[in-house]
């Protein structure tokens, strides 16, 4: 991992996470720069989701230090933490929509909690967000159990974006989408990053997403970041897993 990165929105230092006696993350360092889209890859089971969940505070760490927006999350008071949480949005792998609320209520839930706005504006913003993630207004009154997998992802993204966060965590956003839908999704993330100045932390296995959407790629292996840099750096790397990943049959197909 390269040294200090200026203007880092997420700064992870030396964190270790352990489940029982298995060390999942072992002294990991990572910086995410403001305004970039960081693609985060690694073998299945390497701990990509664990790192995401550690940063957002769902998994306790054994040691290390995590700063988000320059605030040390361990030292932060509960009101500071809430302020940080209001500034990030999270798209969980399975969507994690509230099953007893409609799509409309799901998207409005965080807005209603944090902002004092009228129902009219809430509805208008909901439809704007639905439009942004490429859903028709008719889905607004459906329940999550009545949606397809791709629609759930989109609604979950709309909910993650409901408060116009500065930072979004996307956990495998394009898995389970058809290639056209996945391409649209990448384009959407790009557009949002440009228009809203969003920083995106994206765990993904989708080579297309890595090529088209990501500014920088970080690779997780053996509990550490084994490489971080641009796509060109990744392709030039001699690390065996990286070579297999970026020069494999599927990668060649994507690169044409």
């Amino acid at each position: 991992m390269a040294g200090e990165v200026q203007n880092a929105i997420i700064r992870v230092r030396d964190i270790s996470v352990q489940f029982g006696s298995t060390k999942v993350l072992d002294g990991l360092n990572l910086d995410v720069k403001r305004g970039e889209i960081l693609g985060f890859v690694g073998p299945s089971g390497a701990g990509k989701s664990v790192l995401t969940r550690t940063i957002i505070g769902l998994v306790p760490k054994v040691s290390g230090r995590i700063e988000v927006f320059g605030i040390d999350l361990d030292a932060a008071s509960s009101s500071e933490r809430r302020a940080v949480e209001r500034r990030w949005g999270i798209l969980f792998q399975q969507g994690a929509l509230f099953s007893s609320l409609t799509v409309r209520q799901n998207i409005q839930f965080p807005v209603r909690e944090y902002l004092n706005v009228t129902q009219r504006l809430l509805d208008e913003i909901t439809f704007a967000k639905l439009g942004m993630v490429g859903l028709r207004p008719e889905v607004a009154d459906r329940f999550p159990s009545e949606l397809s997998g791709g629609m759930i992802k989109r609604v979950a993204l709309a909910r993650a974006l409901a408060l116009d966060p500065e930072l979004v965590f996307l956990d495998e956003p394009t898995s389970g989408l058809d290639p056209i839908g996945a391409g649209d999704f990448d384009e959407l993330v790009r557009t949002l990053q440009r228009t809203l100045g969003l920083t995106v932390f994206m765990v993904t296995h989708d080579l297309d997403s890595l090529y088209t959407a990501c500014d920088r790629i970080a690779v997780l292996g053996n509990g550490k970041i084994i490489a971080a840099g641009s796509m060109a750096d990744m392709q030039a790397s001699q690390h065996p897993w990286l070579r297999a990943y970026f020069h494999g049959k599927r990668a060649r197909a994507v690169m044409g």
Partner: protein
């Protein structure tokens, strides 16, 4: 970095410019909405209105939408207000919200007489549906047990034993404790009131009959409905939500045979055992209180118990137990399979599993009371 947003009115040429400044983001959504609503009243007051956003330092979806809303409400016929000074960074965001169409309002349910009547009708039809569902499940379980009887190897023994541990072995401490306490209370109350007539010793008759015939089994059945019936509904319901039951079906397994039969079997074995243990604990508790509080010596208690109680009382109690277990199990499984996609539905069906389970247990108890009375047991 965050500057309070403003929307100022300035005369410009022959028209009016609305100059937006500051941070137009979600953080200030409340204030922004207020300012925009005020500005919307300018509609029609002047022919030439433009919106100047060159001084806006930050813009997000909320701000962009409110500017778009302002533009829409100030539009008169073909004369659409111009948005000036939009930086290249934000123009795509404004274009994005421009595509938002007028939206359907949320459905609001109004309470009407017909609506209420309809609800009553649906509830009544639902009761019929419940009974049909129970009979359907009973049939399914009987058919599955017939299949298992002809092919005994297809019985899921491991699963049955696992559920037996859950509903029987692990329930013993709480069942014994509660029935022990109930025995103590019955005995104490009996002695307290019977003493007025000098009939202390008849507390043994009352305790024996009540515990062995009714309280023992009924109380244990109610506890099992709350403890294991709810667990069955929640287990099956969450499996239904995650499509695990559909997965079983597509692999050629019958969910009734794989999931429900072992659970039913475990419950039918467990309830008589628990009812027996419960009855013993209640008699023990009652005897203890009779001795310590009523001064009835243990020998006298046992002698009296032997005279007062025939084996019929015990048989009546134990015969009821497996039937009640079957009722609890069937209700729990029907409710489990009726769970829909949401967490709320899981909660509703778990509640109704316990409520209906207890209701049917008490109804069954009444039916049994009539039956045993008429055959003279």
């Amino acid at each position: 970095m965050n500057v309070d947003p403003t929307l100022e009115r300035m005369a410009r040429g022959n028209g009016l410019a609305l100059c937006a400044t500051g941070t137009w983001t979600a953080r200030f959504a409340g204030e922004l909405e207020q300012m925009v609503s005020d500005a919307e009243r300018l509609r029609g007051s002047r022919p030439n209105i433009s919106i100047d956003v060159s001084q806006v330092s930050r813009l997000d979806t909320f701000g962009a939408w409110l500017i778009e809303r302002l533009r829409r409400s100030l539009t008169q016929g073909e004369a659409e207000p111009r948005i000036a000074g939009l930086s290249a960074d934000y123009s795509s965001l404004v274009d994005e919200v421009r595509r938002v169409k007028a939206m359907p309002a949320a459905d609001t349910a109004t309470v009407t007489i017909t609506g209420m009547l309809e609800q009553v009708g649906r509830t009544m039809a639902g009761i019929g549906g419940t009974i049909v569902g129970l009979i359907d499940m009973l049939g399914g379980v009987l058919a599955a047990s017939a299949r298992v009887m002809t092919h005994p190897r297809s019985l899921r023994l491991t699963s049955t034993v696992h559920h037996l541990e859950q509903v029987c072995w692990r329930a013993v401490p709480i069942v014994v404790l509660i029935t022990f306490l109930i025995g103590c209370i019955i005995s104490q109350q009996g002695i307290f009131h019977f003493r007025k007539f000098g009939a202390d010793i008849f507390v043994v008759d009352m305790l024996g009959v009540l515990v062995l015939r009714e309280i023992g089994v009924l109380l244990v059945a109610i506890m099992v409905a709350g403890r294991s019936g709810s667990a069955y509904t929640a287990e099956l319901g969450s499996m239904k939500m995650r499509e695990e039951i559909d997965a079983l079906r597509t692999m050629g397994f019958d969910p009734i045979e794989v999931l429900i039969l072992p659970r039913m079997l475990a419950l039918i074995i467990a309830l008589p055992i628990l009812a027996f243990l419960g009855a013993m604990a209640a008699l023990y508790g009652g005897g203890l209180v009779a001795w310590l509080y009523g001064g009835v010596e243990p020998e006298a208690f046992l002698l009296r118990l032997r005279d007062a109680i025939s084996i019929d009382h015990f048989t009546v109690g134990i015969i009821k137990a497996p039937v009640m277990a079957a009722v609890i199990g069937i209700v729990a499984c029907v409710e489990g399979l009726a769970v829909q996609g949401s967490a709320e539905s899981l909660g509703q069906h778990t509640t109704s599993s316990v409520v209906k389970g207890i209701f049917f247990v008490i109804v069954m108890d009444g039916v049994f009371a009539i039956f045993f009375a008429s055959i003279g047991m």
